[in-house]
């Protein structure tokens, strides 16, 4: 099935997945290790994070806008039972990933002597990774049928 033939929500999942991966890659390339120990780099990272989030919102708006303009009827259609099921299953997996990653990474950086900023970054990065897993799972489930 080509991208054009996919449902609006499947296209949306692809867009969000790619955008999140790009955002994470952009953020990590500006993150000199061991960032969890360096309170003085907080300002720089906040600046990078803000830019990344603005870019994320802009890319999402533009990409979704294009998809909606090309297939407005698909975009207006309510979510059906299969799409509900896919979203539920993907969120369930993402929730577990977030729980494991956030707890594991926070314990690890505390062990390594992190400050509060480092712990916050662990939680934030865990959230971003869990959302990547969420949308990747949706893409897989859509490809498999449900």
């Amino acid at each position: 099935m080509s991208f054009r033939e996919k449902s609006f929500r499947e296209k949306s999942a692809w867009i969000t997945l790619i955008t999140l991966v790009l955002l994470l890659a952009f953020y990590l390339t500006h993150l000199p290790p061991p960032w969890w120990l360096r309170a003085e780099t907080g300002g720089f990272l906040f600046h990078v994070l803000t830019l990344g989030m603005i870019a994320f919102v802009v890319i999402e708006l533009i990409a979704h806008g294009i998809v909606v303009l090309r297939a407005p009827r698909d975009a207006r259609a309510p979510r059906d039972e299969r799409e509900h099921l896919i979203a539920l299953k993907a969120r369930s997996i993402a929730g577990r990933v977030y729980a494991i990653l956030s707890l594991g990474s926070v314990l690890l950086v505390i062990h390594l002597g992190a400050n509060d900023g480092g712990i916050l970054y662990c939680l934030f990065l865990s959230f971003v990774v869990s959302q990547i897993v969420n949308y990747a799972a949706r893409v897989v489930y859509y490809g498999r049928g449900a």
């Binding site: 059906d80 039972e81 299969r82």
Partner: protein, 78 residues
């Protein structure tokens, strides 16, 4: 990922003036992609959606869906 439930939706669609997947999807209230996934055996619809498909095609439920080539779950465990 295939299910044990098979269907004749595609055949029945073509017998009804070559009804498209989109037409059927609109009558049933699901997306075209969901109808496609059902036809390919990748997704088993809920009972309500299955009944809606049968009503939209103007046939009984058993004429649209069958389980494991007429094998019932109780027979499969003997």
């Amino acid at each position: 990922m295939s299910t044990a439930i098979t269907n004749t939706i595609r055949k029945l669609r073509f017998e009804r003036n070559e009804m498209t997947q989109q037409d059927l999807a609109e009558r049933v209230g699901v997306t075209r992609q969901t109808i496609n996934a059902i036809e390919l055996g990748k997704y088993s619809p809920s009972l309500e959606v299955a009944f809606r498909i049968a009503v939209a095609l103007g046939v009984r439920l058993e004429e649209v869906f069958s389980y494991g080539a007429s094998q019932t779950p109780s027979e499969s465990t003997r």
